[in-house]
């Protein structure tokens, strides 16, 4: 249990390190809000007075502390155009989360059956699936998204090319608008999942306990499900955790190709508009989400693998 508390401690530590990096970048970038709050012809004294009133001339640690306090209480400020950042982010968060969730589901739905079906080494299924896995994971995510959208959406009109349909307008349309983006993200990760899970299954099939079960007369198929699956599940949990984290990160490209209003595309527009504060807030938010996800996945591994329970 002591290790659990240590592991839990990494979340605030991560947030500290990331927020320090972000805040250092923000405070060292040129210009501050006096450039766009005060009129252009404001004198230097007026600027100095403004800075003192707002608190921009405070020493670095104090400003960092107030930055952290603001972040943790949800006061994420305004963009230069006057939009409330927290409202913007919170309205876009569900899109990205549903994208990531759907990608995870699709990845598992592709990877697990293929692993079971292509277990035999050197079979045609094995070679075909491995070859396609290697090829797909050599392409960047946006390229897969582009190809899928041009093939399935534009040519064949099976799915919408862009835009997000909220579930309030019909859950079928909502899933349809998310399907292609999720598929692009998940093709890459399902290849990795399949390779690792299948290897774990093959290794488990050769372990002594499986041999014993087979010697006792269990059929190969039943041994596959009863003996080999359980030890391979922790690996699936591990890579699911990593993939979920990567989906959040990779959503930037996919959301841009399919024009989904999510966190990723917000990050891209922050980068294009050189909005350091918005980008920094998003980085910290993403770091928080990913550290929580990896905590969850480690808990799942602990649960699934009896050897790791102390």
């Amino acid at each position: 249990m002591e290790r659990f508390w240590k592991r839990l401690l990494t979340v605030p530590l991560t947030m500290l390190v990331v927020s320090f990096l972000v805040f250092a970048c923000i405070s060292f970038s040129e210009g501050d809000s006096s450039a766009y709050i005060l009129p252009e012809d404001a004198t230097e004294e007026a600027r100095a007075g403004y800075r003192e009133a707002v608190g921009l001339d405070a020493p670095f640690p104090l400003r960092y502390a107030s930055f952290m306090a603001d972040f943790l209480t949800g006061r994420w400020g305004m963009t230069a155009a006057g939009h409330d950042v927290s409202k913007m982010i919170l309205s876009r968060l569900p899109v990205t989360i549903s994208l990531a969730a759907m990608s995870l589901v699709i990845s598992l739905a592709i990877a697990v059956p293929v692993s079971y079906l292509t277990l035999r080494r050197r079979s045609i299924g094995d070679m075909a699936s491995t070859a396609s896995a290697v090829v797909i994971s050599s392409l960047p995510v946006f390229l897969v998204a582009l190809l899928l959208s041009s093939l399935l959406a534009v040519r064949l009109h099976l799915f919408p090319t862009s835009g997000f349909v909220p579930p309030s307008r019909g859950i079928g349309y909502a899933i349809g608008s998310l399907f292609l983006p999720s598929l692009s993200l998940s093709l890459l990760h399902s290849s990795l999942m399949m390779l690792l899970f299948r290897k774990a299954l093959r290794d488990s099939m050769e372990k002594p306990f499986t041999t014993a079960a087979l010697a006792y007369g269990m059929s190969r198929r039943r041994a596959l499900f009863r003996c080999a699956t359980r030890p391979s599940l922790p690996i699936l949990a591990a890579i699911s955790g990593e993939s979920a984290a990567a989906f959040i990160g990779g959503s930037a490209a996919v959301e841009s190709v399919f024009a989904l209003p999510g966190i990723g595309s917000l990050m891209v527009s922050a980068a294009l508009g050189r909005d350091t504060a918005l980008a920094g807030t998003l980085v910290m938010l993403i770091a928080l989400m990913i550290s929580l996800i990896s905590l969850l996945s480690e808990a799942a591994i602990r649960l699934l693998d009896p050897r790791r329970r102390s």
Binding site: S29, V135, S137, G249
Partner: protein
């Protein structure tokens, strides 16, 4: 499998070096399909796509190479730190692990927001995002070596940490760091092409494979060669790096020849490599 990867990579590099160029703007020859004078066709401004694709391949590969060098340098420094006797190793490991929470793409976008587009910033961002993997590799290899008796013998005759590091630890750790660098290389190529596609990567009008794909996007349906050729080159680069990296990892499909591999269980195929 590894040899195939290396051969493909060298072939792409050779191709990019021999055909690379800016391409002349010629408005009369816009959006022509592949022909004998323009083997890859022309783009929307009439520039020869072969030249631009080759130059773009060179840009992408060089960004990957820069990231590889940066990550190798960082790994070397970390390995030296881990070899010092009274160094707080677990603290540094935990510190490096905190960066695992930021995917390479997100960090690169943040750097682009903070300091504008640029090749060096992208390379640095990708290296920082992978610092957790680099530090783990450096730590495990250094720790494995430090327990050996000959290190203890060296220390007992008064060798300093620097000498031990340069004579013994560095030659052992270097191949593993290089291998880790291949993974970073791949991640950098993917991140750069994605960023250039989105418009925050290479400076405007510099041909990079991602930028070429961004140019191709509006005319994708009418001029499929503009997507096909950069995509094919990108696929080849990614494939070669993937083959090299996979050949050292556990999930090598051609595992029959494992007795030939000296570096075993080194590279973990990491899912967040491509963000």
């Amino acid at each position: 499998m590894r040899r195939a990867g290396i051969i493909i990579l060298i072939a792409v590099l050779f191709f990019s070096l021999s055909f690379g160029g800016e391409g002349e703007v010629d408005a009369a020859m816009r959006l022509l399909g592949p022909s004998s004078s323009h083997p890859f066709g022309t783009d929307a401004l009439g520039r020869d796509l072969l030249e631009r694709t080759a130059r773009g391949a060179f840009v992408s590969i060089s960004i990957g190479a820069i990231s590889l060098l940066i990550s190798a340098a960082v790994g070397t420094v970390l390995a030296y730190a881990y070899s010092l006797p009274r160094f707080p190793r677990s603290a540094l490991l935990a510190l490096a692990d905190t960066f695992k929470a930021v995917p390479p793409m997100v960090l690169a976008l943040f750097f682009a927001a903070f300091a504008g587009p640029g090749i060096a910033k992208m390379a640095i961002a990708v290296s920082i995002a992978h610092i957790s993997d680099i530090s783990r590799t450096a730590h495990s290899r250094t720790a494995a070596l430090l327990n050996e008796e000959f290190i203890e013998a060296e220390r007992s005759i008064g060798a300093g940490s620097a000498r031990i590091f340069f004579r013994h630890i560095l030659p052992h750790v270097a191949p593993y760091l290089a291998l880790q660098g291949v993974s970073v290389f791949l991640s950098a190529v993917m991140a750069e092409s994605t960023l250039s596609f989105l418009g925050c990567g290479v400076p405007v009008d510099t041909p990079s494979l991602g930028a070429l794909l961004a140019e191709a996007r509006p005319v994708m349906m009418n001029a499929p060669w503009m997507v096909a050729f950069p995509a094919a080159v990108l696929l080849l680069i990614g494939l070669s790096l993937e083959l090299i990296a996979l050949s050292f990892s556990e999930s090598d499909p051609s595992a029959q020849r494992s007795h030939k591999r000296k570096l075993v269980r080194v590279a973990e195929v990491s899912a967040d490599r491509k963000a």
